[in-house]
Symmetry: C2
Subunit: 881 residues, 2 copies
């Protein structure tokens, strides 16, 4: 096992591609070295060594020490110095570097190699005792903190070295570190060492090699510190990756006014504009830029201060972009006028910048349009569609939930839908905070700027409804404890009261205390250029899940090619209609049910007509009623007596019906097509409304393509029976209207049995549409309403790698889908098959649907562009557009 990868003066053992082995930092340094850029020599200890360390009771792998000694010698030769040499000491930096950037999560040791002897050599070589002792005291403090474990565990506790430093400054009557003399700093070194001895009972190690082994292990250990662990959990990075350690010759930006240090992006990471973007500080070390004690200057001013170094930096910027074919984020140091590159990596960027840079790179002929398509992270496209949190803003994140519906929202906390609505009517911006939401909360959700729940997953009620509304939503923020009675929620030790302002980031799931500045949404020319390429590259059609004309209009503007799922149940929740619906449910016979349904019919007809108008020329798939009837009944005593009064029935009758319809497992109960088996008049009414609306639209000259879809089918007889009902009802209307309106009838495939008997179902279906929410529930035996508490544990223990309700489970649910596609198309070749579950807008799921040979995906309006891009990427990756 090779543990150590050397790099220096044009040669490197590794390359830029080996991020998994060398970490992002190590790989970048190797690549820059190979490019002949000025990189201080050094070596990278692999992530495999880190893995070994953890698997072997925290011991370094055999051979590592010898390899590192040889590499350090080589580094010294290049730098004209020797590690540990008292005349001419080589100093090293020891830095962590995982395969992905985890800013500030792991530890670093700088100026390593100093002791009471080598510091003298440094003074002699630099002629600058103040610099030497400043470096020395920084090193001892850093080493004491990081390697010897004196760093306080929480931010509230004091760092012992800081305390000694403050004491010194008080004693010397100065305010700033920089006003301390060389002698003061030397004294600090002794005091720091004494503090270490007192606290740890062992002396500070004077042996540079001992320092090195200690620092390497400390970096390895920092992979497992609580901050890093939490961070990984938050972002879903697995624990087994480990970190690499890069040991590099120190270069100093703080040796005087001909020195500087800085960070820069090769383009503007917020806008994507082609301008060199960054900041620097003269006479400083890298930490100072980050620490914010002095205000850095914009990179453009470097041209005046150090024109030669600036020109070289500009040249390097171009070379890096051309060579690495992407926007870079670099760190550099200028030591006595000489430029050194300390890091390069792909720069993080906003969604807008991601699009612009990809499109510009094509214009600059650096990449092909195909590559531009593959470059854009579909999830980041979202940022272009919603106002979002200013990336440069500082923010106090108090909890993190699931990013259920993107965008950002700022408002005052309200704990009930009614209150949210009332306060919104008075012009207040509110955030609705609930443990979870139910259909009764929809009016409050509509009124709110954003929705936050402490329970539920990516397909919980709140998430689905909010996405439909294109409204920012964070769900399952399990760190939050909601206390409705007290009108507060707590997150850790933070208490948020009714009326307090919070900000939600629906793209990251962050819950932020107070207000954070937002940037508005905008679809620009670059976006349109990219999407033209995208549409040329994809095979999958993209439809939308839209229940209202507003949603349909939004989706069409986002490029939806039809409606793949128009849920009809939301049409019943309007206050006007819910009463008729309740009357139907409370009716004791078919006659009573029909009378109530008659009231609802014209309203649904109006809804459909408006949707058909909006979708002129495009197909509209209407799913007939799906949820169990008890969802429509009133719950609270107040509501129950109100309904009883309004309908002229007894309170007991409403109670009795509630009890009669109660189910132990409503998800597996009397819903979907089962409702129509028992009460055919419900579907009859719905189909009549659809058919009448279609005829009216037709007369207006609208091209209507209704596709009527039956939910929760698991048995051939259900579909054959209901298909007949739909066809007969529709044709009756068309006949009486003396019109021919083409329509099709299909089925949801959302039960395992439906997949298994797909050949039988295909005989009675013009199309299939996968309902992967329910299919995931039944395949796993996971209730999406209950899985919220279990899922984090399953993710943490790697029993599942992703939330299967967010990203399709290919191995299980996906195989069932595969069976259904195969059997369905075998029975009816060319059968149209789509997906209308929440997965239809999730990139990896869209990719899978492409591979499965589906005809279309359908997703919420705001995910349509994401699905289009994902479909194109899938086609390009598969090589079969």
């Amino acid at each position: 096992m090779k543990n150590v990868y050397f790099f220096g003066v044009g040669k490197a053992d590794g390359t830029g591609k080996q991020k998994e082995l060398l970490g992002g930092k190590g790989a970048g340094l190797a690549e820059m070295t190979l490019l002949g850029l000025p990189v201080p020599p050094g070596f990278t200890i692999t992530t495999e060594a880190c893995t070994y360390y953890y698997q072997h009771d925290r011991t370094l792998p055999p051979g590592l020490e010898a390899e590192a000694r040889a590499a350090a010698l080589q580094v010294g030769e290049i730098m004209g110095a020797r590690f540990g040499d008292r005349q001419n000491p080589l100093l090293l930096s020891v830095r962590s570097g995982a395969r992905v950037s985890m800013p500030g999560m792991m530890d670093t040791v700088l100026n390593l190699g100093l002791n009471d002897e080598t510091v003298q050599g440094l003074i002699e070589r630099t002629g600058n005792p103040r610099f030497a002792y400043d470096s020395y005291r920084r090193f001892v403090a850093m080493y004491g903190d990081v390697v010897m474990g004196l760093k306080p565990e929480t931010e509230k506790d004091h760092d012992p070295f800081e305390e000694i430093l403050d004491e010194k400054k008080r004693a010397r009557g100065v305010e700033r570190d920089i006003d301390l003399s060389a002698e003061d700093l030397k004294d600090l070194v002794s005091r720091f060492k004494a503090e270490i001895r007192t606290r740890k009972g062992v002396p500070f190690p004077e042996d540079p090699w001992e320092q090195l082994w200690g620092a390497i292990q400390a970096v390895f250990r920092s992979w497992d510190n609580p901050r890093a662990r939490t961070y990984r959990k938050l972002y879903g990075y697995p624990d087994h990756w480990g970190t690499a350690v890069t040991v590099q010759a120190m270069v100093f930006g703080n040796m005087g006014d001909d020195c500087a240090t800085g960070v820069a992006f090769t383009r503007d990471p917020a806008t994507g504009d082609r301008r060199f973007f960054g900041e620097f500080l003269v006479n400083a070390q890298g930490e100072d830029v980050v620490a914010g004690i002095r205000t850095p200057r914009p990179i453009s001013e470097l041209e005046e201060v150090m024109p030669k170094a600036y020109r070289e930096l500009l040249e390097i910027r171009d070379r890096l972009e051309k060579h690495l074919r992407d926007m870079q984020d670099v760190e550099f140091t200028i030591q006595r006028g000489k430029l050194w590159m300390l890091q390069t990596r792909s720069g993080k960027r906003s969604g807008r910048a991601m699009v612009k840079i990809a499109v510009d790179f094509v214009a600059e002929k650096t990449i092909e349009p195909k590559e531009a398509i593959l470059r854009v992270d579909p999830n980041k496209i979202d940022e272009l569609l919603h106002p979002m949190i200013d990336p440069s803003a500082t923010k106090k994140v108090i909890a993190k939930g699931l990013p259920a519906s993107p965008g950002a929202a700022i408002g005052k906390v309200a704990f009930s839908a009614t209150e949210a609505e009332e306060r919104a009517e008075k012009g207040e911006k509110v955030i609705l905070v609930r443990v979870e939401t139910s259909p009764e909360d929809v009016h409050g959700m509509k009124a709110a700027q954003g929705i936050l729940t402490s329970r539920g997953g990516m397909t919980s009620h709140a998430a689905v409804v909010a996405r439909g509304m294109g409204k920012c939503c964070v769900v399952g923020a399990s760190a939050i404890q909601v206390d409705y009675r007290k009108g507060i929620f707590t997150a850790g030790n933070v208490t948020v009261r009714d009326g307090d302002v919070i900000t939600l980031d629906g793209s990251t799931g962050e819950v932020i205390l107070g207000t954070v500045p937002l940037v508005p949404a905008r679809l620009d020319e670059d976006y349109r250029t990219l999407m033209t390429w995208v549409d040329g590259a994809r095979r999958l059609r993209v439809r939308t899940n839209a229940d209202t004309p507003v949603d349909a209009r939004t989706a069409r503007a986002f490029g939806a090619e039809g409606i793949g799922l128009c849920r009809t149940e939301h049409m019943f929740f309007d206050p006007q209609r819910i009463l008729a619906m309740r009357q139907m449910i409370l009716a004791s016979d078919e006659k009573g049910r029909r009378a109530a349904l008659e009231k609802i019919l014209p309203m649904q007809q109006g809804d459909f007509l408006e949707i058909f108008r909006v979708m002129d020329g495009l197909p509209v798939t209407v799913r007939l009623l799906d949820p169990p009837l008890h969802e429509f009944l009133p719950r609270t005593e107040a509501e129950i007596s109100e309904v009883a009064r309004a309908l002229g029935v007894s309170v007991e009758a409403v109670h009795a019906k509630n009890e009669e319809l109660h189910e132990a497992n409503p998800m597996l109960g009397h819903r979907g097509c089962r409702l129509a088996v028992t009460y055919p008049e419900i579907y009859e009414t719905q189909v009549t409304a659809i058919a009448r609306a279609a005829c009216l639209a037709r007369r207006e000259g609208v091209t209507v393509l209704p596709e009527i879809m039956i939910p929760i089918v698991g048995i051939e007889g259900e579909l054959s029976r209901l298909r007949e009902l739909v066809v007969t009802t529709f044709e009756q209307v068309a006949k009486s209207e003396k019109l021919t309106v083409p329509f099709t009838v299909g089925t949801m495939i959302e039960l395992p049995r439906a997949c298994i008997v797909a050949d039988e179902l295909a005989r009675h279906a013009d199309f299939f549409s996968f309902g992967t929410n329910d299919l995931t529930q039944t395949a796993f035996g996971f209730s999406r309403d209950d899985i919220g508490k279990l899922l984090p544990i399953y993710l943490e223990k790697h029993l599942v790698e992703k939330d299967p309700f967010a990203a399709l489970d290919r191995d299980g649910v996906g195989k069932l889908m595969g069976i259904a596609v195969e059997k369905g198309r075998k029975a009816k070749s060319g059968l149209k098959i789509g997906i209308c579950g929440e997965h239809g807008g999730e990139p990896s799921s869209v990719e899978f649907c492409h591979a499965l040979g589906l005809d279309y995906v359908s997703c919420s309006p705001f995910r349509v562009p994401i699905a289009r891009l994902s479909a194109a990427q899938a086609a390009l990756k598969a090589g079969n557009p």
Copy 2:
């Protein structure tokens, strides 16, 4: 289309095998005719004609009349008479006959062909005017009732003809019909006809042919009468079968003392003994035997009365048995000393008789042992294992539910488990009546003689627990309305109060008012002979589902070859243990949970030890904890405060935990292996108890073969992680006990995803066991707790042909099982696979399991013999024992 099948004097168009076309009666008459037995000639109109009649707006098929006229002519020729002839009239009977016997459900018309002219011919031919007018008045009344629709709709209303008859008897001052003179009877005929004219506005048809067409159509119509419809629904016979109509020359048992009529079984239908069994009446018609006005005499007495006819009957009995190779149920009439056979069919028999007759037929060399095995209906075997209702008893059935657990039970109604227990302790026999049961009712179920529920299916809690206890249980008797508050239940217009006596028939699902005599259970020599053949013929092993030593002992006595499912949750419901279990659930951390589990450990250990002792030498599969924890928490306020007091926690804490653990869909929630992912200490404790018990048993010299089974696995990681936990824990115990106890670890396959990833699971499993209850729930998306109301509708509309929770759904669930078997054995050849769902004891499901290549089925103790027999039948049918 041939509508009419003639039979007479040794010739017949049909045969005994054509029951579907000719009905049971028509086929039997054809067969007897072909055998040369004395059968009055006649013809059968097919069931297809009946189907035609219903499909064509109640019209007879073209050609039927002509065919029937020709056949009637032929009949007349044989009988030396002519239909409608005034000198020598042929009289006909018109009888219904479906492919299965539906006693008394459909209509019959006798003496057809009489009118004012032909009755004179009859008088001349017989010289018996009283007989002729008696036949005539019977015919007119029957025709008026059946064909012309004067029969009252309910039993409460009076028959108009009965009223006239009573009036006549009063006027003549006589008590009995027989005391009326020929003149009286002649007068009745006129009055009956006048009544028909008054009520219907049309005259009684004098034309014999018109009478015939009317009677045939009336029989067809009677297939659709409310009684017949209800009967079919009850027994699951489809509506589309239709009935045949047999038209036959009348023979008369009522022409004088040289005449008789009777019914007989060729062997005793209750015991199976080889004795001629039946009854007869001298000078009577068939109806008189059934009507019960006169007491029939035992068949043996016929030898004295009519020795020649009796000898002939005995001879026919032997010929029929030899020829049809089964016990027969025959009807006969003796007219002036001549024997006529009117019906033969396979005789219904008790389970005991079924076994004895099959074994005796082998001894008599009529059939082979293989055929004997195939002859016995596995479900009837049950009757040998339980006391059952005396087949000859009369009973008032007030409702019919699902026959969830066989046997019979008599007791006083109790509506709560606690009351049932209290009253049982005082020596009262009680029947527990509930809407449905929950684990909290188990103590009451134990105390009760039988259990009746108005909701739930064959795998509802009540059904499963009762079968486990071998206790009579009827579930889902939806005609019953339970009102706990009033302490009553109603069934139709019958009200049953707390304390009233009812009888349950767990083998038929009948709920009977009052007491019915029972016959005790007995396993006799014939049973043992049959089962020896059975065990030689089957490949599938048969295990039992047993949670207690008592169950295990019962099952072993019934031939179980191991325990296939030992559920451990019932071990927690004992009052002593439930408190510790609740303490565990209420504990706030692992330490608290472990402390509570420590209390439970020795108790579970004791349970396992006892079970291992009972099952010495046989494998015992223990399923680790499966149900969600909230099932163990107290529900009522009283219980909650009791638990809070006992555990020294606040009532609020219990409430809070109840709320915390509440799930929207518990069936898809935090249960099974998911519990062990979050709280590994639960399974650790259970495995420790199993391992310690196994070591103790081992030391006693018992051969223990523990198989530890993980429930609700759907993901490879769940199984690999928990397998490791089980192995580590078990081996630790064995090591500390210094013993080697072989054990295996396997998984339930009860989720669709588990079937799909069975290859991955097989890597970590020594065995699979199908949990087809949960698999049926998730494959169909049917909650077994909620499906009760929907299922009857699905059965009625033929969306499913059988309750899929009772009989395995081969097309859906079965295919998923097939995928699992194939993938599992592909990954691990020879993988042991069984089934431990409720289907493991259901004959058609056992047959499917045989075909699927499973190694064993496991079922409740009392179903073990059924499963053994079913397994043998499956092997014989498949031809691959």
